[in-house]
Amino acid sequence: MKGAWAIAKKELRSYFLAPLAYVVITAFLLLNGFFFYAILAVLSQPGASSTSPMSLLFGGTVFFWIFLIVTVPVITMRLGAEELKSGTVETLLTAPVTDLEVVLGKFLGALFLYVAAWLPTGLYVWAVSLYSEVDPGPVLGGYLGTVLVGLLFLSVGIFTTFVSKNQVVAAILAFALLLLLLLLSLISYIITDPFWKEVFSYMDLYAAMQGFSRGMVDSRPVLYCLSGAAFFLALAYQALQARRWR
């Protein structure tokens, strides 16, 4: 797995060399910051509910998901598509690394940037702690859920970027698949058959994040996110292997 580590470090370096990392992080923080300000403003109005602001930040509203399904494809779209387009995939795959190391390295590189984008939001927690008591449970749960959902979403992006040589196509495909994953969350509310209702409730990311941001860590969404990530990384690996036969 040394190869994967080398690739992850190189990807992180490339993110910060190209302005992409700065653009993504700046846009993400500006929007998330404004969003957080709005949450605080609403909650401080007289008669507002006593919801914790952190639980609204993490998955409590639709904005959290909009940010994710836009940010993730932008982070991942370049990783495979550019290698395929510029031909550098040839130098990469003829180095003594396995295809699996390549996929995992790219995934890890994307995860670094994703975490880097979220890290500054720790300041929000600090800001809130200046004026009121902060319950550590929802904060830690919220970050854990954000990372878990991130693993799942980033693996989808890694898959699509190894499918197409074109970055835009890879990003749109990732966006569509992520939207589909979110729509799966709704199915359990529509369906009446108790068995299928149960099955689809496992895929309810929305409910999962609400749980995490209340400080409740349920093993079912943890398993769903991790196995989902493994599934899409396996697909990415297959897509890369299939490239060799064309």
């Binding site: 080398a6 490339s14 031909g87 040839e90 003829t94 180095a95 690394v97 064309r246």
Partner: protein, 324 residues
């Protein structure tokens, strides 16, 4: 299975690759001994790059196998790739990295120990005469420097085998000469397989040539042998006679396959003859001319260049395929 001294460095066994219906490479067999510099020749689309990609493990073969240093590329892909330094066609590089950053990444990827990396990068850049672009962004390097960075990368982990796909393409004459000298210098402790469609390149650096055409091996032997095998059968002669008469006279000599007039001036005709390499027709030419009362002014064996040899081999093959 460990490679002994007698084992070839690279052995290609019955290598075939199909893309859909097209057979890009068809049942190739060849061996490359340790320390050889082999030129891999062929027109564009002959299957050179596909073959090199199969040797380096980038493409899996449809049939057959490649054995490098005693290890099968199918079964021990990673170990085989560790033994090969590869410069792909068009030399793809990460445009946004600096040269030293790129080489540091490649060194880590190739498993060069951390404490040796900086020294090794300095060594290969020096060997390729590219130390001055060390801190430059690759996207801002000239083609010549990019090529040198690509070769430096191939040398980075000091692999026993170097595979260079068109290493001098797009370089200016001075850079070409420099690159050739560099490659020749590497032959002391490396086995080199380089593809090209420039014949003088093979004449200048290689000891052996493989000619590939439409995915099949047409020639496998020494560069000397390639030229010798084809220099028989080509003559030049000048006759004091009008063109028609000279051609008629020479064409009917048994053993003469083709007669072509090169120049005609002042009653002299200069002709090139293609003759059956198995028979010596020089005496017959002298006799035929005197019999017709024509004066033979010049008769010489023509040394053909590898260019012509190559064209003759590949076009003969193409012509042969059309006829049933």
């Amino acid at each position: 299975m460990a490679g002994s001294v007698e084992d070839p460095m690279i052995e290609v066994r019955d290598l075939t690759r199909r893309f859909g219906q097209t057979e890009a490479v068809s049942h190739l067999h060849f061996r490359i001994e340790k320390g050889d510099i082999v030129g891999f020749l062929g027109p564009n689309g002959a299957g050179k790059t596909t073959t090199l990609r199969m040797i380096t493990g980038f493409l899996p073969p449809t049939e057959g196998d490649v054995v490098v240093g005693g290890l099968s590329s199918q079964e021990d892909g990673k170990a085989v790739r560790r033994q090969i330094g590869y410069l792909p066609e068009n030399n793809p590089l990460y445009e946004d990295l600096r040269v030293r950053e790129y080489l540091a990444f490649r060194a880590e990827l190739k498993g060069v120990p951390r404490r040796l990396r900086a020294r090794r990068i300095g060594e290969v850049l020096e060997a390729c005469d590219a130390l001055e672009v060390r801190d430059r962004i690759i996207g801002a390097c000239s083609r010549g420097f990019r090529q040198r960075v690509g070769i430096a990368d191939a040398l980075l982990a000091d692999p026993p085998v170097l595979i260079l796909d068109e290493p001098t393409v797009g370089l200016d004459p001075a850079q070409i000469a420099q690159t050739r000298t560099l490659i020749k210098g590497l032959s002391a402790d490396h086995t080199v397989l380089l593809s090209t469609h420039i014949l003088p390149e093979v004449e200048a650096i290689c000891s052996r040539a493989l000619i590939l055409h439409r995915g099949r091996l047409l020639f496998d032997g020494s560069v000397e042998g390639l030229r010798k095998g084809l220099s028989g059968g080509h003559l030049t002669c000048t006759v004091r006679a009008p063109r028609a008469e000279a051609e008629a006279c020479l064409a009917e000599i048994p053993g003469v396959i083709r007669v072509r007039t090169v120049a005609e001036s002042g009653g002299e005709t200069r002709l090139e003859l293609e003759t059956d390499p198995a028979s010596d027709v020089r005496e017959a030419i002298v006799r035929a001319c005197s019999l017709r009362g024509l004066t033979l002014l010049e008769l010489a064996a023509r040394q053909i260049s590898l260019e012509e040899a190559f064209l003759s081999i590949t076009t003969d093959e193409a012509a042969g395929e059309v006829e049933p």
